[in-house]
Every structure is written in structure tokens, then in C-alpha cells.
Amino acid sequence: MLSSLFPNVRWEDMWEASLQTMYMTAISVFATFILGIALGLLLFLTSKGNSWENKFVNGIVAGVVNLFRSIPFIILIILLIPLSVYIVGTMLGANAALPALIAGAAPFYARMVEIALREVDRGVIEASQAMGATNGQIIFKVLLPEAMPALISGITVTAIALVSYTAMAGVVGAGGLGDLAYLDGFQRNNPDVTLVATVLILVIVAVLQVIGDVTTRAMDKR
């Protein structure tokens, strides 16, 4: 039945492409979460009135973050090819796309982290200082837990953006559903392949959204 509806779809290829998309998304979301939080914390803590207040460091980090956020992703991939070769040893395949995916998404997420941290009640931070907490304790016991719902909803938005980034990663032969839709669907004029690949991408996005929403709600005790 399925093969008569979608005569040109090779299901093993479709499955493999889905796995590649999920693989790239999963690794890059994880790395973006860690790197984005680190950068976001740095942005927040070095800003005015906070414990590591430092105009110079803040200016540099903010500059780098803004720079990477404004480079179009497709160009970022090409610019980062040498870096990818250096880190993962190849300029082709799913792994080759990872540095660009992370470099594109982490600054984007870092800004969301910074905003989330700024929303944390100043009074609570001050109360912790009054109790004699160290900066490390304030970061891990106050700032991050109190901002967690916003951090999770932020990473959900970022993860969805990353799914669409992976589609562009086809230029470095990264594979994935976007690549399949373009090469097999568009270039060879197989609209059924494009359709199925699109539906699968939508399913992945929907699943990410649901996971994100449920987690955010479970964490939010406000």
C-alpha cells in the first residue's frame, strides 16, 4: 500500500536519513545546552551589578556572541569547514556538520540563557549572599535551578531551530532528511520523497516541542 502511494520512496534510506537528523540534532542540542549555559552565565555574571562585573570580558563575549548570531548559517558551515576537518578529521558526513551546528546555535541560546538569568529574583540572590554562599553555590543552587523552566523552554526553541539547520547541513554531505529531500526529492523530481521527508521533520519537531513543554511545566513550581 505504502509503496503504491509513494512509489519513489526507499524506506531504508528514509529511515537512515531520519537517524542522521536525530543524531545531529541530539548531539548539537546537548553541546549547545552546555556551551550556551556557560556563555550565558559569563554574559550575565560579568554584566553590571553582578558578582564578576567586568566591562571588558562582557564586551568581548557579547561581541563574539553577536557576531556568530548574525552570520547566516549556510555561510557559517562553509567558514567552519577547516575547523571541522581539524576537530572531526573529515569535511563530509554528519560529524562534519556538528561544529557549525553548535557554533550557530550556542550563541543564540546563550542570549536566551542570559535573559533567563536576569529574570531570577535579585532578592533571592542577595539572600544567598547574606547567607554566605560562594559564587559556585549561587550559580548551581540558585541561578540555574531558579531559571530552569526558562532554560528548558529556550533549549526547546533552539532544538527546533537546529532541526532546520541540519537540513542545510547537506552542503557538507551531512545526510539527514533535508539532504534527502533536496537530492532525492527535488533534484530527481520525486515529490513523494520530499513530502515524506517533510512529514518526518514535522514529526521530529512536534515530538521535541511536546517533550520541551512537558518538562518546562513539570519544573515550574511558581
Binding site: 532578592g123 535551578p145 531558579e146
Partner: protein
């Protein structure tokens, strides 16, 4: 216990320097409840925040429990702060933690081992009257309950001093009273020194032993609460005292009633050392006068009753004279001439 010497705090805002606290000396004794009252912007919060160096004084020294805070290294300051609890107007508890976890927070900071923490938290939950609510999140608590969490948290590491910045200002009068009672109990049972900031005179009246009045960044008057109530010297102090003893309608009704009143109109002022003995009962029983209470507000401070009572006395002239003589030994007596 606490000594401020030549304390000054100047903020350098965009609009120019703001002298939030001007050259101030203050000594707070061990075990007392010390109140600071003043209108908004007087510098009260700035002053109390200098007691744990949340705000660094521009000049002067802060000594708490024989430690000169401003001279301490970062690490030692953190340790010193563990001995100074603080509670806040807006509670400042973590919404991401339950009551239990919030109270355990300062214990985690001070590095108490997990097994000991549990018992200590339980003890504190009972002390502040939150038994049964241990697993609730702050969003499920009332304002008064949140402040109880704040108090338990502030007491967790057995501090020597408790700082309260407008701790009851966000609460209704009844809840305010219950929180003040709790603070009084803690002061008595644990011998804790409490410094309390407020703009409400009845908070001072209810639990403070001594009070400082702040205006425009300076302490303008200071002394035992009853003394201040009886002999307010500064106009601002008088304003605060009058807030309590002379509600507006009181003056009016007295002058109104004195018109054509039949009898002797007298105002009793309960002064320092008054025993709170049943004055009115005595007058009626022993001196055979009729006592008609017109208006009054008598409140109780840590050191005895304070307030005013207006009565109309009827009876023989000699009986009234005797009664007034007796009363003069107990309270301040003012005979108000009939209009």
C-alpha cells in the same frame, strides 16, 4: 553585639551623589530587639544592609560579635555572614525548592552533612510552626507562611544576630502580629539579638526594647521604646508616636463630649513604670466615683502599658479629688476643663 562607628554610605548615581546614610554611630546590645523607624527613603535599608556588608560603607567600621566585618577577607566574611541571619520584606525564598529544601539551603551552604541536616530542618519547621507543610512549594503558601520559611532559614545556622528589613510590611495586620510574636519568642528562647527595620510604630511598640528614629540619612533620636513614647523630642518622632496613641477621631470626640458634659473630664496617660493595675476598677470600688470611659487606646510595649484614656468622672467633689490623687500615683492625669 553590634557596633557602628562613623558609618557613611554615599551612592554615586547618574543624577549625582546620594548620601543615603550620614555619619552614624550605633551600639546594639546582645539579646535586645532594636528597632529602626523612619519614612521611605530615610536610609533604613541601607543602614541594615551594612550590618552584613551587603552594602559596603563608604566610611566607618562595622563590628558584629567582635569581628570588624569590613576588614575580613572574602572567605572569612562568608563565614561571618553565616552567623548573621536576615529576613526580607518580600521573603526572598527559592520557588524551585520546597519548604524543607529552602530551610536546608543555608545548611548546604555551611556544609552540614546530610544526615544532620534532616533533623535540624525538622526542628526549625516545628519552631516556626510549619509542621505539616514541609513538602509544599512557596507558591502554595500564604505570605505569613512564606515569612516563616524565611525566618526558619535565617535561623538555620544558629546565628547570633537576626536582621529584619521590613519583615512584616507585606503582611496583613493579623499575620504581622503572629510574625512579631514569633520574633519575640525567638528573642526570648534563643537569646538572639534582633535588628528590625520598619515604618510602622506599632511594630516598634510591640516587640522592640530600644528604637532609633531615622530621617534623611541620620539617626535623629534614639533610646528605650517607652522613653521615646513619653518624651519624643524630634517632630518626626512625635509624628510616629501620635500614630499610635492619638487617632484623629480621639481629639474630636473629646472636645465634642466636653461640651456641656456633666462631670469631670480627665485624661490619663499611662507613663513609664505604670503597672497596668486595674486603675478604673480601683476608682469605682475604692473611691465611689462613677467612671464613664469616653475614648482610649492603651497598648502594651515590652516594658509596660502605654497610651491614653479619657474618662468622665461623676460623684462627690471630694470623692473625685481623692480619686484623682490616687490616679496621679499611677498615671499622668490631665483634667480637661469643660467648655
Amino acid at each position: 553585639m553590634i557596633e557602628l562607628k562613623g558609618i557613611k554610605k554615599t551612592f554615586f548615581a547618574a543624577s549625582g551623589p546620594v548620601e543615603a546614610v550620614k555619619n552614624t554611630d550605633l551600639t546594639i546590645e546582645k539579646g535586645e530587639i532594636f528597632g529602626v523607624i523612619g519614612y521611605s527613603g530615610a536610609g533604613k535599608s541601607t543602614l541594615i544592609r551594612m550590618l552584613n556588608l551587603l552594602e559596603r560603607p563608604t566610611e566607618g567600621s562595622v563590628t558584629v560579635d567582635d569581628k570588624a566585618l569590613s576588614k575580613l577577607k572574602k572567605k572569612d566574611l562568608r563565614l561571618a555572614r553565616q552567623e548573621i541571619g536576615m529576613i526580607f520584606q518580600h521573603f526572598n525564598i527559592l520557588w524551585s525548592r520546597t519548604v524543607k529544601e529552602n530551610i536546608a539551603f543555608p545548611l548546604e551552604i555551611s556544609g552540614m552533612p546530610k544526615e544532620k541536616r534532616k533533623a535540624r530542618v525538622e526542628e526549625l519547621v516545628n519552631l516556626v510552626g510549619l509542621t505539616g507543610r514541609e513538602d509544599a512549594y512557596p507558591s502554595q503558601l500564604s505570605g505569613g507562611q512564606k515569612q516563616r520559611v524565611g525566618i526558619a532559614r535565617a535561623l538555620a545556622n544558629n546565628p547570633k544576630v537576626l536582621l529584619c528589613d521590613e519583615a512584616t510590611s507585606a503582611l496583613d495586620p493579623k499575620t504581622t502580629d503572629s510574625i512579631l510574636d514569633l520574633l519575640k519568642k525567638i528573642n526570648k528562647e534563643l537569646g538572639l539579638t534582633i535588628v528590625l527595620i520598619t515604618h510602622e510604630m506599632h511594630v516598634i511598640r510591640k516587640i522592640c526594647h530600644r528604637v532609633a528614629v531615622m530621617e534623611g540619612g541620620s539617626v535623629v533620636e534614639e533610646g528605650p521604646v517607652l522613653d521615646i513614647f513619653h518624651h519624643p523630642e524630634q517632630p518626626i518622632t512625635r509624628d510616629f508616636v501620635n500614630q499610635l496613641s492619638e487617632p484623629e477621631e480621639m481629639k474630636e470626640s473629646i472636645s465634642h463630649l466636653s461640651e456641656g458634659a456633666d462631670g469631670t473630664l480627665v485624661q490619663f496617660t499611662f507613663v513609664k513604670g505604670a503597672t497596668g493595675s486595674p486603675l478604673v476598677t480601683q476608682l469605682i470600688r475604692e473611691y465611689q466615683v462613677e467612671v464613664n470611659i469616653i475614648q482610649g487606646k492603651v497598648t502594651h510595649t515590652q516594658d509596660g502599658p502605654y497610651g491614653k484614656l479619657s474618662v468622665l468622672l461623676k460623684g462627690d467633689e471630694s470623692a473625685i479629688d481623692n480619686a484623682l490623687n490616687y490616679a496621679r500615683g499611677q498615671v499622668k492625669v490631665e483634667v480637661i476643663p469643660n467648655a
